[in-house]
Symmetry: D2
Subunit: 358 residues, 4 copies
Amino acid sequence: MAGSSIGKIFTVTTWGESHGEALGAVVDGCPAGIELSEDDIQVYLDRRKPGQSDYTTPRKEDDSVRILSGVFEGKTTGCPISLMVKNENQRSKDYSKVAGYYRPGHADYTFDAKYGFRDYRGGGRSSGRETIGRVAAGAIAAKILKSKGINILTYTKSIGEIEIDKSRFNKEEIFKNPFYMPDKQAAQEAGKYLDECKKEEDSAGGVIECVISGVPAGIGEPVFDKLDAALAKAVFSIGAVKGFEIGDGFAAAKAKGSENNDEFTIGKNGEVCLATNHCGGVLGGISCGSDIVFRAAVKPTPSINKVQKTVNSMGEETEVSIGGRHDPVIVPRAVVVVEAMAAITLLDMLFVSDINQY
Amino acid sequence: MAGSSIGKIFTVTTWGESHGEALGAVVDGCPAGIELSEDDIQVYLDRRKPGQSDYTTPRKEDDSVRILSGVFEGKTTGCPISLMVKNENQRSKDYSKVAGYYRPGHADYTFDAKYGFRDYRGGGRSSGRETIGRVAAGAIAAKILKSKGINILTYTKSIGEIEIDKSRFNKEEIFKNPFYMPDKQAAQEAGKYLDECKKEEDSAGGVIECVISGVPAGIGEPVFDKLDAALAKAVFSIGAVKGFEIGDGFAAAKAKGSENNDEFTIGKNGEVCLATNHCGGVLGGISCGSDIVFRAAVKPTPSINKVQKTVNSMGEETEVSIGGRHDPVIVPRAVVVVEAMAAITLLDMLFVSDINQY
Amino acid sequence: MAGSSIGKIFTVTTWGESHGEALGAVVDGCPAGIELSEDDIQVYLDRRKPGQSDYTTPRKEDDSVRILSGVFEGKTTGCPISLMVKNENQRSKDYSKVAGYYRPGHADYTFDAKYGFRDYRGGGRSSGRETIGRVAAGAIAAKILKSKGINILTYTKSIGEIEIDKSRFNKEEIFKNPFYMPDKQAAQEAGKYLDECKKEEDSAGGVIECVISGVPAGIGEPVFDKLDAALAKAVFSIGAVKGFEIGDGFAAAKAKGSENNDEFTIGKNGEVCLATNHCGGVLGGISCGSDIVFRAAVKPTPSINKVQKTVNSMGEETEVSIGGRHDPVIVPRAVVVVEAMAAITLLDMLFVSDINQY
Amino acid sequence: MAGSSIGKIFTVTTWGESHGEALGAVVDGCPAGIELSEDDIQVYLDRRKPGQSDYTTPRKEDDSVRILSGVFEGKTTGCPISLMVKNENQRSKDYSKVAGYYRPGHADYTFDAKYGFRDYRGGGRSSGRETIGRVAAGAIAAKILKSKGINILTYTKSIGEIEIDKSRFNKEEIFKNPFYMPDKQAAQEAGKYLDECKKEEDSAGGVIECVISGVPAGIGEPVFDKLDAALAKAVFSIGAVKGFEIGDGFAAAKAKGSENNDEFTIGKNGEVCLATNHCGGVLGGISCGSDIVFRAAVKPTPSINKVQKTVNSMGEETEVSIGGRHDPVIVPRAVVVVEAMAAITLLDMLFVSDINQY
């Protein structure tokens, strides 16, 4: 069945496996007349590129994007934009060993159960490389949103037990440390924590936070297509995500109504606004004009050197140690993926909701 | 724009406002030949009915369902099943006061921002009564799932700070206390906690947990239509939900890979299975054969008697006290709504995934 | 599987069987703030009502519509509009005989083949009464289109061999004869033709033509969602339709390029327009500003008194004579159904295409 | 807005312009485990290749397809299949002249009206080259259908006034003449007719007929997703199609019920079947087990050397002669496109309808 497409009006279809010829995305429903170059997209792809610090896989992936259609004389034409990234360094390795057993925490077993067999090279379609198409498409969405005054800020909130301190929050810092943390001190502690993990041949997870500013009130649909429900699905569709919350999220479940409700007040320009933002920018599934704030919980990298029990393809119990060049934490590289999914979802919702102004 | 439909093959469309003539749902894509009566559905609706304890609104809502189409001689025909519940006691009250201001924590303001005006009677379409259509449709989905050996157990995990103790977990207890808690002692404490809330003219939230057993491995689609992503969206589309997590959820973000990975082992019948279930039954977006376990965070009831600041329709700041018969906590009544959304989503995914066995 | 919904943004879901409790439609995605009453819809339903002349079934069907949701204080709210028509006079008759064999030209056999059994009362879901939901929803779409200067004129072009003469075309005449023909003389001849058919216990078909004026250039999407492709699907989804053509249609296949091409010219107001309209208002799947002109071929009523061979439920060959009160021609009553489908499709396309002006 | 995707379960998304880098399609929802090579697809693409006779454009288009994803060790994996055809010989020509005016019968004007500007090189996205993605995807669908005993035979029924004679129908002949006509004599006459057209610097249209055998009864959905409605949309989405009819089509509108109804009878193997096939294999939108027979009317090639009036980009009236290497008739090359659309649509419907056997 299908399942590689998302969005109703701004539609993204991704394709490609970790070790196939190429990976890519088709973006259909992009308005015409928008200036778009490969550079606009490359900037985003570079943010998910590995090999940029000691804490990501040293694999070399150039991941240069090409625009194959939908752009003419530097502008989008309204027709589908086909984006392609060739797989360059993925052919050599021998993956026959991986084919023989199910890696714990990976989708090897479920793909086999579903399809009868699997492209076992580097995880095939369930590889993190699948997110290349998402990020490339998200770059386009983010560019359009920015032109409408909507900005998305995404960063690492925590790695393992190390969490940023809101009092030290510094937006500038995000792109200065390898973890995309807005808190220099927390980033240093995270580095130490990961050094430990590596020593133990183990891995870490973390939490990513995303703040979207400039969204006008009225975006999102009541009932099933609530803005927060759409964001939840989009972010949860990223491989390693195990939790999603908006505003106070799970903490709201412990609060009282008087603590959790956001009182309405009149803003500086006479507009209706919220005095606080426990709701995270969405009321009844529709944006209220406040910042949209959500978080995603990312599980620890499943590939670890530590010995684990598993089952091989002959149905025998065995042990594995997933050697090789794996990220001890995927959170930093997932930051831009979360941002991309937020951009794609919000832009689509914006287009879908537009009709109400008809 | 549309947004009142969910599901690709098993499609549910709901309609109706809190104080309109009626509410209902159209279920399209239900297989033919399934025995179905109004009683099958009424059992579910009764679980969300208020007035059943001191902790739910004393409003009387009979909520008797009628099947208007799609069933012939006691069996589904394969054609759309139209379900209707008439609104009986909702006409009398004077709602003109509510029309005049924005209730904190409600969707009054966002509906106005989106549509230019709103059906202010009882929240209109953003009322909790909107869930009637979901529950009625969910009852059908749950019946079909049960016939395939798939059972859904949903209960309250916590109310405010009061959480169930796993060591006292007792399935039988769930339907014996007004909170649908599987722990008698926790239910008693929750009662006391809510008495306090009521005294303070305040309200409470909580967490709902859902366990789906009997799902075969291989259900769900990779990439955007992951099973957990679909569940996230469906559950997040319930009005008061602010967080969703599967398996270890947010706790996974703090764990190490060696703790969070589920090792594979050989089960009693020689089948591949997981030794633990940190993943919550889904790997790479596809069911792995283990129980699917997820949780939803529900915010405290926004309607409280306590005085709150807000803004009225003339753009003036004012104060409100939402008097009237409101639930001090909506968690117990939301339990069956979560179950309904899980059933609808899983059944649709089952149908959609079937094609892979083609 | 689903299949009772149409439209991406303006979405219509119909439900109901010929002899069930009621029939109806849910219209989701209707913009807010539009004045809408039951009368607006009833006018359209009355156009498909039988018993209005000697040439339609004398069955009495009141078909009074009720709006159950989505309208507040006389205006649409942006939320789903639930429309219901109760079945009044359909319960009495004994249909057990019909259950026993397959009526030629009807869907009895294919429903059995698909679902294993069928609601045999009056054709169940395959009855012409299924179009009630379409017409009710179409009335809403047509009202919105009219407010944007888009008008739809639909009429009978031919019945059997009797065709209107373009030189006698008179718009006023359409609602003056029982066949909705814009040519008084042709209508008289059609009456005589049908009298003959009735005498022979036989039935007739015909062609319906639809002209949509006021559609701005730029509506429709290239590739799969061409405006003419969408109209083709919508009109072909009406039970008895066997052919669809736009502009010169099948005649274009015999013409030469120089005859079929429409030259461009400058209109009175300096706008680009077509000198002729062989294309029927659509070029490359997108409206060009000229009138959209299409035709639908409607097959003769399959229910005839004349004896026909068929097969019964025991798999034996037998003979039937479909006695009863059937229309000798359904074309006149199908005129408003074609108009409704055109309105629904065009409005949805208009909303979908809007994004390009973003 | 989107519009480059078709199919609910077997989903095809096409992309690419006449003179861009490449054209292609992403096929999502293809079952796993099917043997698939580039050769399987190339065979179909070669059928739409020009330059194969005196009656198609002498332009050289190699149109070699590459499979970029979704196939592993010669078998489909269940993941999206990305197909790409590079544009080889399209860059050289100077198209600045074409940019200056609207070609009659083409989509130049409507694209400008919709998007504000257009990729004018060779028609951009509205070029006949857009069908490459359709044919490549259709080849996959046709292969799967064939493995289920479903075969599609498509051929030219008429070119201009020249029509095949059913009494001379010879399946073998189809691939022996440049027009894909199953009647040698008609093909010769068509050749003479086209020679005349070329001499007159004019062009011709024609009718394509498609016969699908082996479809089991029960495929298609009642109401909006009727099998014939889906076929109508799919075929009408091909650029030059102006009419679609199934079974007796427009002729049915002139017939009487007793002539048009197909009587039921008992077949050789005791199965229920139709004595005739006026309905074209579909009753009530659902396949009845008989051959599905439909026809598409294709307009004459709009590009002609003959002088035509039009308007230029400065809004001035002017004259054009579309010189260059254009097909005097596109019908023969469109035959495989019709076949591809039929295959895609039928396979998707088959998957969608499967659920009823659940």
